[in-house]
């Protein structure tokens, strides 16, 4: 249609789409799915870190971790707000999360088993998230791109803090270094999987690319993560978590081994180590909090009625 052509022309010209602008239904739906999935990831992502906040080894580390978790709740807020500009409410989005219809990043279905996992998550998981998200700061939908700019700024702090935890462990006792190695080994592959299926298996990519809500392919971004991270691993003095990692002079990139996509799809299907626990925790939090949300609403209604009758 003419509207669709005009819409695509604006995108091609690099003009941002805003909430009040006309947009194709599929564009709206794709964005809602993508933004809400990202919002849900922030919210669920608080849990694996919350698991260590009560056991952080120093007061300073505890404060930094608390601040990080707080930032994640904030990111969730911006992103739900961005999604809401597309005509869907936060409660609807949460209902989809709780029913299992909406997804969140599979990485959060892995357990945090030692303090070193706080390092690995900041370094590898936030690191990968940034690689995914930096391009989205230039995506075609205005509210989303602006949310991404704020999110990326804070996440680069988180990634640095994560690396700092790893540094401290690698400079520490043999036990601490082993802890760091173990965390790297456990989080390496799941972090690579965060970029999604390989391009060959990826659906809807072409359309999203045309709409400029996906600016690079999964495999391109994944390669960027490997290239960025391998020297960091070496700097830490840790062993590479994948024996196939090797600098490829010709490609100008690191080669790396095959990803276990069977595991990826199992986690996606709900069979990851913590899928049940994570979702159950969120659902319980929401249900347990109903009285609270209802009460605030009831109080606001009373205040409103009083003002009217006054």
């Amino acid at each position: 249609s003419d509207a669709e052509r005009a819409f695509q022309d604006r995108i091609d010209a690099g003009i941002r789409i805003e909430a009040k602008d006309w947009m194709p239904d599929a564009y709206r739906k794709t964005l809602i799915r993508q933004i809400s999935q990202h919002a849900h990831s922030e919210i669920v992502g608080q849990l694996p870190e919350g698991n260590w906040v009560t056991r952080a080894p120093t007061l300073k580390r505890k404060a930094i971790l608390l601040a990080k978790i707080q930032d994640e709740a904030g990111h969730g807020l911006y992103l739900y707000s961005a999604a809401e500009t597309l005509g869907v409410s936060r409660d609807e989005l949460l209902a989809d999360l709780h029913s299992g219809k909406a997804k969140y990043s599979s990485i959060f279905n892995y357990p945090t088993l030692s303090w070193a996992d706080m390092g690995a998550i900041g370094w590898l998981v936030d690191g990968s998230a940034i690689i995914n998200q930096i391009p989205l700061c230039r995506c075609s939908y205005g509210p989303y791109s602006r949310a991404m700019i704020r999110v990326c700024k804070e996440e680069s702090f988180h990634a640095r803090q994560g690396y700092d935890i790893m540094m401290a462990l690698c400079r520490g006792t043999a036990e601490q270094k082993a802890m760091a190695q173990d965390a790297l080994n456990r989080y390496w592959w799941p972090a690579l999987m965060m970029f999604g299926p390989s391009d060959a298996a990826s659906v809807n990519s072409a359309q999203s690319a045309q709409w400029r809500i996906k600016l690079f392919s999964n495999d391109e971004l994944r390669q960027r993560m490997v290239d960025q991270t391998v020297p960091q691993i070496e700097y830490l003095g840790l062993q590479l978590p994948d024996p196939a990692i090797k600098w490829n002079e010709e490609r100008g990139h690191y080669d790396f081994g095959d990803i276990n996509w069977d595991e990826f799809y199992q986690v996606l299907k709900g069979n990851g180590p913590c899928n049940r626990e994570r979702l159950r925790t969120r659902v319980k939090a929401y249900e347990d909090g109903a009285w609270f949300r209802d009460a605030l609403q009831a109080h606001a209604d009373k205040q409103h009625d009083q003002k009217k009758s006054a």
Partner: protein, 259 residues
């Protein structure tokens, strides 16, 4: 029992500062158990923020306590390497989170005390204490405004929320008495012009409570009811040991490690 309890009785200023540190530390620890599990996203953020403020305050107090002690201990040594009998926080603060109503009521009861105590502490003859109190008071002023506001809105909310808030108040009331009991440390601090007598704060606390509870349509329990005590003397409830076992695990399991 470590030496703290038995050898430091003479060092009242150390004890006094340590108590303030322990209050902030233990409440922050409890609040951080809510991370990612609050009733609404905005609430998650706000509660985490209070936890963060408190841990910041705890760090200031612990650092000063360590300095006063002069034995080379650090803020982390004080937080992670003392057993329950050497912690001096109010019993109120170590109580399990319970429902979110319980958590908020505990916060409100403490914030009211904390606000008035810090306000008086700004006049401390000890410059360092006055400075930490002043800095903390900025944060605690906000804590108190927030928790007072929530108690009103939830008390005067739905039938269910009123019931839950009342139950929380009734449950926690017995732990409020010890906030106003003067002991020898308090008397010594008061005589040195370093801190107020806790008993002197009671009427301001009562007044604020009465105002808030009235607006919240909640009933204050009988003022003469039996009160528990012991927290500031290191005699805690059974919850404290579990809280510390979790909190201190890494420092205990990997002694001497740098993190």
């Amino acid at each position: 029992m470590s030496e703290d309890k038995f050898n430091h009785k003479h060092n009242d200023k150390f004890s006094h500062v340590l108590r303030l540190a322990d209050h902030a530390m233990i409440l922050s620890q409890r609040l951080s158990q809510w991370c990612g599990k609050g009733p609404a996203l905005e609430e998650d953020m706000a509660l985490t923020n209070v936890a963060l403020d408190l841990i910041g305050q705890a760090r200031l107090w612990y650092s000063y306590a360590a300095e006063l002690e002069g034995k080379g201990r650090t803020e982390d040594d004080l937080a992670f390497l003392r057993d329950a009998h050497d912690f001096h926080n109010f019993l109120l603060l170590e109580q399990p989170n319970g429902t979110y109503a319980d958590t908020l009521m505990r916060q409100f009861l403490f914030d009211t005390w904390h606000y008035h105590y810090l306000q008086a502490l700004q006049q401390s003859s000890d410059q360092q204490i006055a400075a930490i109190a002043e800095k903390s008071l900025k944060e605690v002023t906000y804590h108190l405004r927030r928790s007072s506001d929530l108690v009103v809105r939830l008390g005067d909310g739905t039938e269910l929320s009123q019931k839950m808030m009342q139950a929380a108040l009734d449950e926690l009331w017995r732990f409020t008495g010890e906030m106003f009991m003067d002991d020898e440390v308090d008397v010594a601090m008061h005589e040195a012009g370093i801190a107020p007598l806790p008993s002197q704060l009671k009427s301001a606390w009562d007044t604020h409570l009465a105002d808030v509870m009235h607006a919240a349509t909640l009933h204050l329990p009988d003022a003469s009811s039996w009160m528990h005590k012991g927290g500031r003397q290191g005699v805690h409830t059974e919850h404290m040991g579990y809280l510390l076992a979790e909190m201190q695990f890494l420092q205990r399991a990997y002694p001497g490690a740098q993190w």
